[in-house]
């Protein structure tokens, strides 16, 4: 850190300079200058000179809070009793209740710094990161399913959740935490954590159907919506600014011109949804080297096999009657057809397909041949077919297709789908498809056309017609996909299941599938061979023993190489951290309309923050990575006044129920004004100066006398400040959904404290076009983990958590609602989960009391409420337990207001 005094002096100068600067270009006039308070530099305020109440000295929080109370003629409340305090701060910092032993220990600890020691212990607990991660995940709209129509699971979104937990537990400096989430995948040195961190950009809902539809305008709109989600999560989370409001027009209240929206959008325009491998640069190098070696080995082995088999084929051909054409390359699977339906090499005829005269006849829609499942994984490959088209105007059928069992992925040689009379390499959502510059198909129904689609290991796709290239080869942006052994099948005559009009009508003469990319020469040879009937057996018979051994050696080398390729295909971990591409220069859209592109804009930061240059020195076509690196540096620059103010306020809110600013993701003009502006700036300034330590910030807040006040209401104070804005007491509040569930598990003794890893899934799934989730309630260890580890899916929300205001995962939620509803009560009354925890608590209490019912009642009170039962309660509860059972008493405790509230 630079010496603080100098910085302050500089900021102060800047502030006075700012006041003279005319309003920013294009920004709407803001009537009220105080509306722009958050954009002013943070100047560390001096402590107010007020006679502080006893015990309210030494902590800057108390100085500012007591000054405001004094001004309003209010007095603070006395310190809460120790039992209340330990429960309060334990919930706040860890989301769990203290154990009776922890409560006892604190109550007995008479050292002057007993409370500070308690706070330090809680901050050091791994539970702290879990608790505070959930607050953060609300803000950044973290989800583990896609939302929208399909709502498919994101199996690999959880690494981001763990990253947040880890970061909070390690007290990662907040400036680094911010930079990693913006550009961790490109900031040197690239680390696994840095890559995972950028999941923030894409961890919201994603419209998969909208991204794959045919209409380009609608696709563009879908992308714009996606980008608004991204820009708004960055703006709201870190800056407390609703930049997204400027997508269609200049911001109505804040100095954010519409151009600025598009400049920030340009920073992130290369970010796309999806999974990516997670590994540091060094690991990646080693793995890539191993992979290319294995690929070379495989190529060598395959070439050897091909050479040997070609020799065998020549030998076999020599034995054929004179005049037979030379044979083509050997295939993984080949389909030939005999005289009638009994003569099919492999597969099942469906929907009226028949075999006659050496052909597979596909007379009408619905007819096709389905193969048995593949016996090996298939990535690079060649599809081949000899086909006669019944009608050149037919659209969308395929000669040959390889497709996963659920129809979600396929590669096919498709006729006339996107353009009439043209062949193309079809694929799901056209993700590996390109229209080719080729002449229209002319072959009449009598002619057999030979087609081949070659998918190479380097992701190149090449088509051939009658042995010569058909259009230019290309590389689809997403690369090739792997079809899994045991799952994928080949279809002849159908593009893919469930498609609009997937049927080819006509006939297939022969077809073949190769598990490698044929060379152009091999395709030509195959075309010339017309699938000459040299079988694998004939080839093998043509080999002498030495060649046979050599072939077997090569096959064994190929197998090893394939395994090495597979194992080095992906890093150990994958995360839904998004993909990157170099975007085209970004155009500002007039009124946000994709059909009204305006000027090209350069990636930049926000002009509203006058203390820093918004110009990042980037051209409109600047490389993708540099854009985010530049923005991250701007964001985390200590001169940027917003991030520290925003984060201090979020932490304050989580400790005291409401922020110093009650609209934590909007510190702009339409947000609230700070209740204690100097306190906010003092904390923000110390936060930055102290190295952005969140734990230091927690410590200063929760050790303040203001935080330690009793929560009892006082009519005379409530009359003046009903909302407790000035903090004349600690505001009591209801536990969040997660804390309710976790506490029940904690007191029943069933909580599984396993830290991190893939989420637990208390549901089964079914797919009917969309993904559906069927919840179950199970009390095994896996499902008894903390709620932050529950798979956070859109359409499978848990009724009890839902009733306790768990937010919709797609909503950026800086502050949760707190409602009290009959559905909540029904859940607590009747859900099997609560019944089980009540039973567990009873069981545990009885065990701890060694079977003595009266003592067990006492234990249950201590476990559930963190206090002893009063004599009257004890008597009533013992009678109830004798009459109806201890579990019923425990049910009452878990349903009680006292259990679900923190005072």
């Amino acid at each position: 850190m630079k010496p603080l005094g100098n910085q302050i002096a500089r900021w102060t100068r800047m502030a006075s300079w700012l006041a003279l600067t005319p309003l920013l270009h294009g920004a709407p006039a803001v009537q009220d200058a105080s509306a722009r308070w958050a954009l002013q530099p943070v100047v560390r305020p001096a402590l107010p000179l007020v006679q502080a109440p006893p015990g309210w000295t030494g902590n800057p929080v108390d100085a500012f809070v007591s000054a405001r109370l004094h001004e309003a003629g209010l007095s603070p409340s006395p310190t809460a009793d120790r039992g209340t305090l330990v429960r309060r701060v334990t919930f706040d910092l860890t989301g769990l209740p203290p154990s009776p032993e922890e409560t006892d220990a604190f109550e007995r600890d008479r050292r002057p710094d007993a409370y500070e020691r308690l706070v330090d212990r809680l901050l050091a607990s791994p539970r702290h990161g879990e608790r505070w991660a959930r607050h953060w995940l609300d803000v950044v709209r973290f989800t583990e399913s896609q939302g929208f129509e399909y709502d498919r699971l994101r199996d690999n979104a959880w690494p981001y959740r763990d990253y947040v937990v880890r970061s909070f537990n390690a007290d990662k400096p907040y400036d680094l935490f911010m930079r990693e989430q913006i550009a961790g995948d490109v900031l040197e040195p690239v680390t696994a954590d840095g890559i995972i961190a950028t999941s923030l950009l894409v961890c919201g809902a994603w419209d998969q159907a909208g991204n794959s539809q045919a209409n380009t305008t609608q696709r563009a709109i879908t992308r714009e919506e996606e980008m608004e989600d991204l820009v708004s999560v960055v703006g709201q989370t870190f800056l407390g600014l609703t930049i997204n409001c400027a997508r269609c027009h200049d911001h109505k209240f804040d100095p954010v011109p519409s151009t600025d929206y598009y400049r920030v959008k340009a920073v992130f325009d290369g970010v796309r949804h999806g999974e990516r491998p997670v590994e540091g640069a060094e690991e990646a190098k080693v793995r890539e080297a191993a992979r290319s070696q294995a690929r070379a080995d495989l190529a060598e082995a395959q070439a050897a096999i091909a050479r040997i088999e070609a020799e065998g084929a020549v030998a076999a051909a020599a034995k054929l009657p004179a005049g037979t054409r030379p044979p083509g390359p050997a295939a993984l699977a080949r389909w030939t057809f005999g005289a009638d339906t009994t003569q099919v090499s492999d597969g099942k005829l469906e929907g009226g397909a028949v075999v006659a005269g050496g052909r597979l006849l596909l007379p009408a829609a619905g007819a096709f041949l389905r193969s048995s499942p593949l016996d090996r994984d298939l990535r690079e490959k060649t599809l081949e077919a000899w086909v006669a088209l019944a009608d050149l105007d037919q659209r969308g059928g395929a000669a040959i297709s390889v497709e996963t069992a659920d129809g979600s992925m396929f590669d096919a040689i498709v006729f006339g789908e996107r353009r009439p009379r043209r062949w193309m390499a079809g694929s799901e959502g056209h993700v590996r498809t390109q229209d080719l510059d080729v002449p229209d198909e002319q072959a009449g129904p009598a002619a057999m056309v030979h087609l081949a689609a070659v998918y190479s290991a380097d992701d190149r796709i090449a088509l051939y017609r009658d042995g010569v290239p058909y259009g230019a080869p290309y590389k689809p942006s997403g690369g090739l996909r792997t079809f899994k052994a045991g799952d994928a099948r080949v279809a002849l005559g159908r593009r893919h299941q469930g498609g609009g009009s997937p049927w080819l009508t006509g006939a297939i003469g022969r077809a073949a599938l190769y598990d490698r990319a044929l060379s152009a020469d091999e395709v030509a040879a195959s075309f010339r061979a017309e699938g000459a009937s040299i079988t694998q057996d004939m080839i093998l018979a043509g080999l002498d023993p030495a060649r046979r051994r050599a072939r077997e050696d090569a096959m064994s080398r190929a197998k090893t190489a394939r395994a090495a390729i597979a194992s080095s295909a992906k890093p150990v971990m994958t995360a839904y951290a998004g993909k990157r591409e170099q975007p085209a220069p970004t155009k500002a859209l007039k009124r946000g309309d994709v059909k009204s592109p305006g000027e090209i804009v350069a990636p930049s930061a926000l002009s509203a923050v006058a203390a820093l240059p918004a110009d990042l020195g980037l051209a409109p076509d600047a490389p993708e990575a540099g854009r985010r690196i530049g923005f991250a540096a701007w964001l985390a620059d200590p001169r940027n006044p917003l991030p520290a103010r925003v984060m201090v306020n979020r932490v304050w809110q989580a400790h005291l129920g409401q922020g110093l600013v009650t609209t934590p993701s909007d510190l702009g003009a339409s947000g609230a004004r700070p209740s204690h502006p100097e306190l906010l700036d003092r904390l923000a300034s110390d936060f930055v100066a102290g190295g952005w330590s969140l734990k230091a910030l927690h410590r200063i807040i929760v050790t303040s006398a203001a935080y330690r006040q009793s929560s009892a209401s006082r009519p005379e104070a409530a009359a003046k400040d009903a909302d407790d804005t000035l903090l004349w007491r600690f505001p009591p509040r209801r536990l969040e959904a997660e804390a309710v569930r976790d506490s029940m598990l904690a007191v029943s003794g069933d909580l599984n404290l396993q830290l991190g890893g893939p989420s637990f899934r208390p549901f089964t799934t079914s797919e009917y076009g969309a993904m559906f989730y069927h919840l179950f309630d199970k009390g095994d260890a896996e499902n008894n983990r903390r709620t932050v580890y529950r798979m956070n899916i859109h359409s499978g929300k848990e009724p009890l958590l839902d009733a306790f205001d768990c937010p919709d995962p797609s909503v950026k939620t800086p502050r949760r609602g707190i409602t009290t509803t009959p559905l909540q009560a029904l859940g607590l009354m009747n859900s099997s989960f609560v019944q089980r925890q009540a039973g567990g608590l009873a069981e545990r209490s009885r065990r701890l009391a060694r079977g003595d019912l009266s003592r067990a009642v006492g234990v249950a009170y201590r476990l559930a409420l963190g206090r002893a039962a009063t004599p009257a309660e004890q008597a009533l509860a013992v009678a109830a337990a004798q009459e109806r059972g201890l579990a019923n008493v425990c049910w009452v405790l878990l349903n009680s207001t006292e259990f679900v509230y923190v005072r």
Partner: protein, 490 residues
């Protein structure tokens, strides 16, 4: 309590009474044991089949409303306007010709074929002479009660965004649905039932499931409550577990109420604690009011027949329509009845890509009779006078086929038909029109925000004033758009 303060926008509370509205539950705490008493009473009522009392805690709307409640039939998948209510003689003439002069193709699959005339015959019905196709003979008989809008347009050609728009005004996840807005804006007429109930098609949930009835950023108590319509209890955790006897539960609830009351008294001044007591009382009442409202035992055979419960084709959806009437009678503010489910195979919704006739024949067979019955039944009971009936779908279908030679139609957002009926709308009326082939909305175009603004208007709400502050914006159901469609108001 902080609960009371939540989400109130800074400096705006005074501008809109709706924003400073009270909590769903009023703060009044009843005496000791009231929870247990309510629960015991509700059990008695459940046995006797008496509806639970309905304390009014609804908030007055901003101006005199025509409608007090809404029932919305939502048909998933995109119902073809050309095959139902939008008669296009010109399309008959142009059958088989190429689609020309309409600009960029709007379809989802982008394979326009040739123009195709309606696969059903159209005839005029009733005194209004409304054109309705032979697909919907029962609804055709209701034509004089219906108020059609033939010039609807949607923002998206993609099911889910378009469905989200029809539900929430936005094409994205996470915006509050219309029912949630009404619960927020108008409260409830019967605290013993949820204000916003969703009745999914027994054949399956729509794509996205619960995303379709989210309260978004509104407080969770405004969320739609989906009743299970296939089997089991209408909602989760409604029933006291079998292992707990009635006597024990009553005693436990008494003990809980005493404890919570003690806590509330010891912490006087915190309304939230009293609200918890009341929530248990209401929960106990719901344990009988929900089964009572959803049970059809008290309905006559004639009524059941009217809704088609005697016919396997209409049984499931017919039950839902009848249940909707019972919920409306009991003061539920917004009932959404969904016809159709997700986009799997075989199709269980109106998404007729492959073969329009085959698809619509199947879907209409489930929908036509029960929906006509609901309209007729609401009318004969006088409920239609203060109930707004809404029939909608996410978009229409293209006048051209999807691919040459195909008998199917692709999605079509630029013109489609919805209809309203009942409180405050003109009966037997036709508003707006599509062009000669049903491609673009031609006259009096109505957007989804216009549609929503009109519904809110009929309920006495100015759509520009029903707002909720969220992350920098005072959000509305109608975003920054929406004009009340005055032409349909009676």
């Amino acid at each position: 309590m902080s609960a009371e303060r939540l989400h109130r926008p800074p400096d705006l509370g005074a501008m809109s009474p709706l924003l400073s509205r009270r909590h769903f539950l009023s703060a009044g705490a009843n005496g000791i044991g009231s929870v247990a008493l309510a629960w015991l009473l509700s059990r008695e009522q459940a046995r006797a089949g008496i509806p639970a009392p309905a304390p009014a805690s609804s908030r007055p709307p901003r101006f005199a409303p025509k409608a007090k409640r809404v029932v919305q039939i939502f048909c998933c998948g995109g119902v073809s306007h050309i095959e139902t209510f939008d008669h296009k003689p010109e399309l008959v003439r142009m059958d088989g010709r190429s689609l020309e002069g309409k600009g960029e193709n709007l379809g989802f699959f982008g394979q326009p074929g040739k123009l195709m005339k309606s696969v059903y015959e159209f005839r005029q019905h009733g005194r209004s002479g409304s054109w309705v196709s032979s697909l919907l003979p029962n609804l055709a008989r209701c034509a004089d009660d219906l108020c059609f809008i033939h010039s609807m347009t949607a923002k998206s050609n993609n099911h889910t965004p378009a469905t989200f728009q029809m539900n929430s005004g936005f094409t994205l996840n996470g915006f509050p649905c219309m029912g949630a807005w009404l619960s927020y804006g108008l409260g409830t007429e019967n605290e013993n039932l949820p204000a916003f109930v969703v009745l999914p098609d027994p054949r399956g949930l729509p794509a996205g499931g619960s995303i379709n009835w989210t309260s978004g950023f509104l407080p969770a108590n405004h969320q739609g409550v989906p009743f299970r319509t296939r089997s089991g209890d209408p909602i989760a955790d409604l029933r006291t577990p079998a292992s707990v006897t009635a006597e024990a539960r009553a005693a436990d609830l008494g003990m809980l109420a005493a404890m919570d009351r003690g806590f509330a008294e010891a912490n006087a001044g915190d309304a939230g604690f009293a609200a918890r007591l009341r929530s248990y009382e209401l929960a106990a009442r719901m344990q009988s009011s929900i089964p009572e409202a959803t049970g059809l035992d008290g309905e006559t055979e004639t009524t059941k027949r009217l809704y088609g419960i005697d016919d396997p084709a209409t049984k499931g959806f017919g039950r839902n329509c009848l249940m909707a009437r019972r919920l409306l009678e009991r003061g539920v503010r917004f009932v959404q009845v969904i016809n159709g489910g997700a986009f799997g195979s075989p199709r269980i919704n109106w998404d007729g890509h492959e073969n329009l006739k085959e698809n619509h024949d199947t879907q209409a067979a489930t929908m036509d009779r029960p929906v006509a019955a609901l309209i007729q039944d609401l009318k004969q009971r006088g409920l239609l006078e203060d109930t707004l009936f809404v029939w909608s779908t996410e978009f229409g279908r293209s006048p051209a086929t999807q691919g040459i030679g195909s008998p199917g139609r692709d999605h079509h957002p630029s013109a489609f038909t919805c209809f309203l009926a009942g409180a405050g709308v003109k009966p037997g009326h036709h508003h707006g029109s599509s062009d000669e082939i049903g491609y673009f909305a031609a006259e009096d175009k109505v957007t989804v925000p216009d549609f929503h603004a009109t519904i809110l208007h009929l309920l006495g709400i100015d759509h520009e004033k029903l707002t909720f502050y969220h992350n920098g914006i005072n959000r509305r159901l109608t975003d920054v758009h929406g004009e009340v469609v005055r032409g349909i108001l009676s």
